[in-house]
Symmetry: C2
Subunit: 116 residues, 2 copies
Amino acid sequence: MRIARPSDIEPKAMDMEGAHATAMRLLIGPDAGAPTFVMRMFEIEPGGHTPLHEHQWEHEVFVLDGEGEVVSPEGRTPLRPRTALFVAPGEKHQFVNAGSETLRFLCLIPLQVQSC
Amino acid sequence: MRIARPSDIEPKAMDMEGAHATAMRLLIGPDAGAPTFVMRMFEIEPGGHTPLHEHQWEHEVFVLDGEGEVVSPEGRTPLRPRTALFVAPGEKHQFVNAGSETLRFLCLIPLQVQSC
């Protein structure tokens, strides 16, 4: 059993091409013993965004703070606190901060991938 | 891509022996297409608790509201909002509302199990 407080975990800037003003904290990962999936917290500052990209694994997202949008080929969908979002494998997506505060969300992925 | 707002999902009372005043909402599950793990939200009312139990799969928990404790053979660990908790497969655990408001948390499990 292991407790993790986000404030105790150093944020790591997301340095993928197309990312801007975005950082990630790994809350529950392989070093905690997670065998199937990992829990990360993302923080996107105002004006920031993740890359518009796709990959062969899913995201399970839960918004904690701020106002955002998820961009997909179908358009822009608003994200607000207490919204859950499932992004299926292969779906193109981008997270954008659409407000004036930090957009903060959990984003969980399967363990076998080590990316965003 | 699929959005789920907890308020749109009917809570289901947890009817396992040893559970009290606890309900669950399935936010992201097989019907959304989740291939690896599922996202549930638990709400434990004041005085309520989950069973003290163990099973062969992990929990990844993130506390949203309220004050709680996780009980294990090692004792009681406080849970407060913005705390992440990893419970390893085989670890005995119980979630208890230790406050006067609803204790609300996300609890994710691998897809192949359909229990708590």
